[in-house]
């Protein structure tokens, strides 16, 4: 029988080492991304930023109710892991993944209708703002239960596998989600079944007010992959090129049937957990430091050096985005709100209206012998 020490070493040889995979992302061998790709990465980040800042303003103006969970500051991660997905690929979104709809192609009109809780929204006004799905593009309508979308995602991945479909599920969650049993059961199942799914852990160092060291005793969440026999990779979540490269590699693995990957993206949310959170639990210095590492400006500098960016081009893009956003806002604000009784719809495949509104009373039928 092997010695205990030997046992410990075994797996490394059995499974792709996170390190190996990670380093390969930084080997000079890796060809530079096409200019068109760089441009699109930037355009999308700028669009996401523009859309969310506008959403935040609308919320502060009280033009829609509920709440919003902005990913401002995290665009490099959201964009890098979801660009170039196929329509048949699925996204399992978290509460902070609203902008991934923009990546997948959900019409902006519908997204704003969702924020406004209008009947024209994909959920007809049921879900809270930002908790949005879109069936035609395989974006799961999320609950609010943290990590639950990952587990549903494994089932979609299982269906791809059973049908030998070369598609992938991008499952998004945060550092806090990794403490939940649901997260563990999902990743373990994906490991055992070699499912085509990429678990993107967006490590923004906080779960609401709770800092990472109270969430887990490790500082690199990618280490957790070791326990599931899948590769774990950590990338700078504010470097959209690094994120995109890592994601593409993981997506490739998945499509080719080599199974799941855990991709940790280290980033930071600029604002509170939600629009009603002043985020007093973070120091101004920390926030400032991270804002200086703005993924957008970083990309601008990089592209400017390559002669791919000008202020004029940016303005042009912004003008286009603002126009599109304004149309979406108009659509949402002119959309009807569902009527009260519509709350009774879509409970089952059959209608429950009659049952729910049943006012009948029964009285004795006397045409019977009674004792």
């Amino acid at each position: 029988m092997a010695t205990a020490t030997a046992w410990i070493e075994e797996p490394a040889s059995e499974q792709p080492s996170p390190l190996a995979l990670e380093q390969s992302l930084h080997t000079p061998a890796a060809p530079p991304l096409p200019e068109a790709t760089l441009r699109r990465l930037y355009e999308y980040m700028l669009k996401c930023r523009t859309v969310e800042e506008r959403i935040r303003t609308l919320f502060r103006q009280g033009r829609f109710a509920g709440n919003y969970f902005a990913a401002v500051g995290q665009e490099a991660t959201a964009v890098g892991v979801t660009m170039d997905l196929l329509p048949e690929d699925a996204i399992a979104p978290s509460h902070r993944s609203f902008i991934t709809h923009i990546m997948k192609g959900t019409p902006l009109n519908l997204l704003f209708a969702q924020l406004y809780g209008r009947r024209t929204s994909p959920d007809q006004g049921r879900s809270a703002p930002a908790h949005c799905g879109y069936a035609p593009l395989n974006i799961i309508t999320p609950s609010s239960t943290i990590a639950a979308q990952l587990n549903i995602g494994t089932g979609i991945a299982l269906a791809y596998k059973m049908r030998r479909q070369p598609n992938v599920v991008i499952a998004l969650s945060g550092d806090g989600s990794t403490s939940l049993g649901f997260w563990h059961e999902a990743v373990n199942f994906a490991g055992v079944q070699k499912l085509p799914i990429v678990f993107v852990v967006i490590n923004n160092l906080y779960a609401e007010s709770v800092p990472l060291h109270l969430q887990t005793a490790v500082t690199d969440i990618s280490l957790k992959a070791q326990g599931y026999g899948i590769p774990g990779v950590t990338v700078d979540g504010n470097d959209v090129v690094a994120v995109y490269r890592a994601a593409q590699q993981a997506i490739q693995r998945a499509r080719e049937g080599h199974g799941a990957t855990l991709l940790e993206c280290k980033t930071y949310r600029w604002y509170g957990h939600s629009e009603i959170d002043p985020a007093k639990y973070r120091t101004p210095e920390e926030v400032k430091e991270w804002k200086e590492r703005d993924p957008l400006t970083a990309m601008e500098t990089r592209m400017e050096h390559l002669g791919l960016w000008t202020a004029a081009w940016k303005q042009e893009l912004l003008d286009g985005f603002q126009k599109e956003i304004q149309e979406a806002i108009d659509f949402a604000e002119s959309s009807p709100v569902a009527e009260g009784q519509e709350a009774l719809d879509h409970v089952f495949s059959f209608s429950i209206r009659e049952r729910a509104l049943d006012q009948r009373t029964w009285s004795p039928s006397l045409n019977l012998v009674r004792r």
Partner: protein, 328 residues
């Protein structure tokens, strides 16, 4: 028609559905190579392969939640929960995900999955192998909850459950698995969900039950006839949620006396909802108090036989209740 046990009827229904529809697959603990701890899936992995009869990791949560995703994608998962006592890890998947996916997506995303749950006491299983916890799910709109009381019902209802477009929880009573045989049509028949079944008609008392206690109720009804000349109408709920109000209230309008029997805890067992509904919508019909025959409100069924007997409904307890509403 072949004579079958309840477990054979379930095994047959699963085999026929796996053969009929390539989208159907089974997943659960020990359902594959071992064929299930009660042998409900016996022989199915050999016949349909490891991709369609999956031995899952020991994790009820992902057994159900992965099935939700697969169902969203057009498959027809049939998940097994080995014992109802161990369904708690799947509580979020069932109540927050499966029950609400259609609702929160306004009908654009749905999960036609079936979750088979082995439940019930009376077999000396003790605190953690005897539970009946249907109430948690009856109380969760969006879930269809079914519980067959006989082999032929088991086959026909399970087929309907698998073909239904809603998440269906299918509660199988472990004491019925082998204690009861009957003729089961070998054909491909289904029994409609959402409808109760009048298993015995009568004019003096409406007795409502489901699962194992339905059989006890039938025995009590027979003895009431033999020994007291009382005609008891026995209604099998079959579907516990949404339950078939009309069949029951129509019967009460004829009999004016009601006895409800179940094995779930008394407080907020389904008997409470049925009684409350009658007291609100058929108040005029009542000539006597509505009597529930249930276990006491204790955390679970103890292992020692005398305590289990004390816990379980039985024919004598049911007859005493029937006497009470008649004598009233």
């Amino acid at each position: 028609m072949p004579v079958m046990t309840y477990i054979d009827a379930i095994n047959t229904a699963l085999r026929e559905e796996l053969a009929r529809d390539e989208n159907v697959y089974l997943i659960g603990e020990d359902v594959g190579k071992m064929g299930g701890v009660f042998k409900a899936t016996r022989g199915l992995q050999e016949e349909f392969g490891v991709d369609r009869v999956i031995d899952s990791p020991l994790a009820e949560g992902v057994i159900v939640s992965s099935s939700i995703g697969a169902a969203m994608s057009g498959l027809r998962p049939v998940a097994e929960i080995q014992f109802a006592d161990f369904i708690t890890p799947a509580m979020d998947a069932l109540t927050q995900q499966a029950a609400r996916l259609r609702y929160r997506s306004a009908g654009t995303q749905t999960c036609p999955l079936t979750v088979r749950v082995c439940y019930g006491g009376g077999v000396g299983g003790g605190l953690y192998h005897s539970q009946t916890n249907t109430s948690w799910f009856i109380h969760t709109p969006g879930l269809v909850v079914v519980a067959p009381s006989s082999p032929s019902d088991a086959k026909g209802l399970l087929k309907s459950a698998i073909r239904d477009d809603n998440p269906v929880m299918f509660f199988e009573h472990k004491k019925l698995y082998r204690s009861l045989k009957e003729e089961v049509s070998s054909g491909d028949y289904t029994i409609p969900l959402l409808k109760a079944d009048i298993k015995r008609s009568g004019t003096h008392i409406t007795a409502v039950s489901y699962g194992y206690t339905l059989q006890l109720t039938l025995q009590a009804a027979e003895r009431m006839k033999q020994e007291h000349g009382i005609d008891v109408e026995v209604i099998d709920l079959r579907t516990l949620a949404p339950w078939d109000k009309d069949t029951i209230l129509n019967s009460v309008a004829r009999t004016s006396r009601v006895v409800i029997v179940h094995e779930d805890n008394r407080t907020l067992g389904i008997g409470a909802e049925i009684a409350a509904t009658i007291a609100e919508q058929a108040f005029d019909c009542l000539d006597a108090p509505i009597v529930r025959v249930t276990p006491p409100d204790i955390p679970a069924i103890p292992a020692a036989a005398p305590m289990e007997e004390f816990y379980m409904p039985n024919v004598d307890k049911i007859m005493a209740a029937m006497q009470r509403v008649i004598r009233y």
